[in-house]
């Protein structure tokens, strides 16, 4: 059995004072996709910040194999920043060290390849702020691809993203999974979560972890989302839908 790529044991994390998130214990093998579900303020971003080592655990431990790539929510990256899509992808190369040197030919080639993979070849020279929401998210994904890590953490990469971009992003996720990389992807969409290998539900604490078929039962979903939840009973099968808010998930 291979060593897990991400492990948390009894993790509690927060911003000084009371933990925002506690009792988180899970592990993910290489080549698995984990959907991190939870309401706004449920601790999804806090978990990611603990996994990148920015928030030291208040209790318990975390272990990630290598340094993970992290795509924070786009709302918080600035739209008037003077960079184009290629510049953004190139930022990923900084993770390979030698940050004091200008980008070399190999780094540029890697950045262009990553842009091609996320379907932004034609937009390489387009200013970041002039890209659509979905294209911006894909440029940030390209930055993570250039980083070339075993573990990728993506905070609501599909929030406010057009369906075509979402489909493209999903197919890149599938490729990354096939490359034996581990993905933790946060989101609100319970239906989409069913397409992942594992689901981690957070609402200030861990409410469930496991394959979607087991983790996403009605009791867990209610414990995770509480009053943010609406159940739809159309076509016989019961379907849970969360009330969606954009960009209010921090911390």
């Amino acid at each position: 059995m291979t060593a897990p790529a991400v492990v948390a044991e009894g993790l509690a994390a927060g911003y000084g004072g009371r933990p925002v998130l506690r009792d988180v214990s899970f592990s993910a093998e290489p080549g698995t996709t984990v959907c991190v579900l939870g309401p706004n303020g449920g601790g999804k971003t806090t978990l990611f910040r603990a996994l990148i080592g920015e928030l030291p655990p208040l209790a318990g431990t975390v272990r990630v194999s290598g340094r993970p790539a992290y795509v924070a929510q786009t709302e918080r990256t600035r739209l008037d920043f003077p960079v184009n899509a290629l510049d953004v992808a190139l930022m990923g190369a900084l993770a390979h060290g030698r940050w004091w040197l200008p980008p070399g030919r190999e780094q540029r080639a890697a950045a262009r390849a990553a842009l091609e993979r996320v379907g932004l070849t034609a937009e390489a020279g387009t200013p970041f702020g002039e890209l659509s929401g979905g294209q911006r998210q894909r440029a940030l994904l390209a930055r993570a691809l250039v980083q070339d890590t075993a573990v990728l953490l993506l905070d609501e990469p599909l929030a406010g993203v057009d369906p075509a971009s979402a489909q493209l992003i999903d197919s890149v996720f599938a490729e990354l999974r096939d490359e034996r990389r581990t993905l933790l992807v946060s989101g609100h969409d319970i239906e989409r979560a069913r397409g992942y290998d594992l689901v981690l539900c957070l609402n200030g604490h861990q409410t469930a972890y496991g394959p979607p078929a087991q983790a996403l039962d009605r009791a867990t979903i209610e414990a995770t989302y509480g009053s943010e939840l609406i159940f739809l009973d159309e076509h016989g099968a019961e379907r849970a839908v969360t009330v969606h808010h954009h960009g209010h998930d921090s911390p």
Binding site: Y15, G16, R49, I52, G53, E54, R67, P68, A69, Y70, V71, A72, Q73, R76, T77, R78, D80, F81, P82, V83, N84, D87, V88, M91, G92, L94, A95, G97, W99, W100, P102, P103, P127, L140, R143, Q147, L153
Partner: protein, 265 residues
């Protein structure tokens, strides 16, 4: 009205010209990073915060540059610590700024009775720029240029995505503190010429104006350096012509440049 040729015939003006060009080089590059990292308010505050140190140094007869440097670096450290503790950085900046200015005023008016020196400290002078002032400006310009080359990619990546930068393995906290410290040193270097209250004219305005026209970071640096040189030379000429300290005309020209570009867009 003097012709531009007369200007270089006067020794004190030659020194002022050199000082303005050195500060333009430092300010042109640094102000680009200041606006990208959103440190405009900090740059203004760090200059003003040196005021009590300058008053004490002036009265006690020790080097105002060293006193200013000590206060500015202490101030940068304080703001950085406050920011790390999760407090809103602009609130910490404002609080420390007001406290420093008030302390300076009390010291200048009631303790040391500094008189005319206060004007010079707050608004700068064309005259009496010594070799030490020029040396500090030259050192600052060199440091800023080296840092821009070596740290430019890192600063840009952090400024673009502060939340994501730690995951790139960048020494974000150290790079940030280095930028704050450089701004502090640069502010002190600019005080003899433009005064403690107007350092933002050099370390914010060129970058802010360049931000309106530049679409890449290298273009931002180039535009910012060009604006800094233009406002410095023009400001110096106007200062000499109207018998003003150079700080105010540089500030007015820089602000007008920004306003005109913003209006034309």
């Amino acid at each position: 009205m003097p012709s531009p040729l007369d200007v270089t015939d006067l020794p004190f003006l030659r020194e002022a010209l050199l000082e303005v060009m050195l500060l333009a080089a430092a300010g042109g590059l640094l102000s680009a990073w200041v606006v990208l990292r959103r440190l405009a308010f900090f740059s203004h505050a760090v200059g003003s915060a040196t005021f009590p140190g300058l008053v004490v140094a002036d009265a006690a007869g020790f080097s105002p540059l060293l006193a200013g440097l000590a206060v500015a670096l202490g101030y940068a450290g304080g703001v950085e610590r406050a920011g790390r503790a999760g407090r809103e950085p602009s609130e910490a900046t404002a609080l420390l700024l007001v406290a420093a200015l008030a302390a300076g005023v009390v010291l200048a008016s009631d303790v040391f009775r500094s008189g005319a020196a206060v004007d010079r400290l707050l608004f700068g002078t064309l005259l009496a720029l010594g070799p030490a002032d020029l040396a500090l400006s030259a050192a600052t310009a060199t440091l800023v240029a080296i840092a821009t080359v070596a740290l430019g990619r890192t600063w840009a990546a952090i400024a673009f995505d502060p939340d994501g930068a730690p995951a790139l393995g960048l020494p974000a906290a150290r790079a940030d503190f280095l930028l704050l410290a450089l701004v502090a040193v640069a502010a002190v270097a600019a005080i003899p010429a433009v005064g403690a209250l107007l350092v933002a004219a050099i370390y914010v305005l060129p970058g802010a104006a360049a931000r309106l026209v530049a679409r890449t970071v290298p273009a931002l640096l180039a535009w910012s350096a060009a604006f800094a040189l233009a406002q410095g030379l023009l400001g110096l000429y106007v200062a000499y012509w109207l018998d003003l300290p150079p700080g105010p005309p540089v500030a007015v020209i820089g602000s007008l440049t920004y306003a005109l570009i913003a209006a034309a867009r």
